[in-house]
Symmetry: C2
Amino acid sequence: MALPNGPVATSSKAEAVLFELIDVYDRAYEAAAAELSLSSAQACVLGRLDERRGMGALAEELGCDASNITQIVARLEGLGLVAREPNPRDRRARLVARTPRGDEVNHRFAEAFTFARTAIGRLSPDEQDQLTALLRKALG
Amino acid sequence: MALPNGPVATSSKAEAVLFELIDVYDRAYEAAAAELSLSSAQACVLGRLDERRGMGALAEELGCDASNITQIVARLEGLGLVAREPNPRDRRARLVARTPRGDEVNHRFAEAFTFARTAIGRLSPDEQDQLTALLRKALG
DNA sequence: AATCAATACTTGATTCACTCAAGTAATGAA
DNA sequence: TTCATTACTTGAGTGAATCAAGTATTGATT
């Protein structure tokens, strides 16, 4: 489990609750991944392959070095969850796609990671809209 | 930068905004730590030493193995930010405390990590209360 | 057509976080 | 006095992440 990101001195109740939410969310994500013997990073990459795409696109979206993606994808490939195919349009590039097993594992991960769904589900539709509006405003 | 924890398929707007918030929060935390040449884990441990305490207490609070804390504290000690003192009441145990430099770095970290403060600050006091109530309800 | 910088990705080296198993030393209860 | 427990450290191993350097291909320029 990664250590929580915070709290520094929380200066308001809202900040403290926000931190708690994030901590619980992050831990739930990691735990769901661990149920499937995946790391958070692996679950993250697997979840972004609904469509086949290049390594570079993944690195850019995830804001990390390309070599990091190379590594993570290599492990997922070793697990039989993704496949790297040559890109017919550009022989430098490779397209990554989930295998059928990868689809299944990804699906099971989505089922195992219930936290966000459950948390949101505790709110009425009206409350969900309020929360969405507040968070959007907070995000600026 | 750690890869983001999500989104799987986001099944509602609220879930998507929540994920975005968490992603931005986590990245801001890591970036603030990086400004001070700290890792997230180091900033986290440093931030939990407002009072001197034992290694075991830290490990329990942070939900990780004691040996993980040993390592992180050793690095912080190497940086001169914390000190390990013998516990006069129990010679097996050691008490960890921030040094004056550690206090200063921790203070600067709290200043550098503006995200949560800023985000909450975009809301009126009433809205902050609403958000707190909604998040508490969502947390169950 | 030939050249060459830019692009897409990989490889290798290094650091750190994290976990588990095993070890040491001190404590406290029988 | 014995011995399990506690508190922490050490060592080994994995994975994430970054950086620097390398390869192959592409595409623009001459």
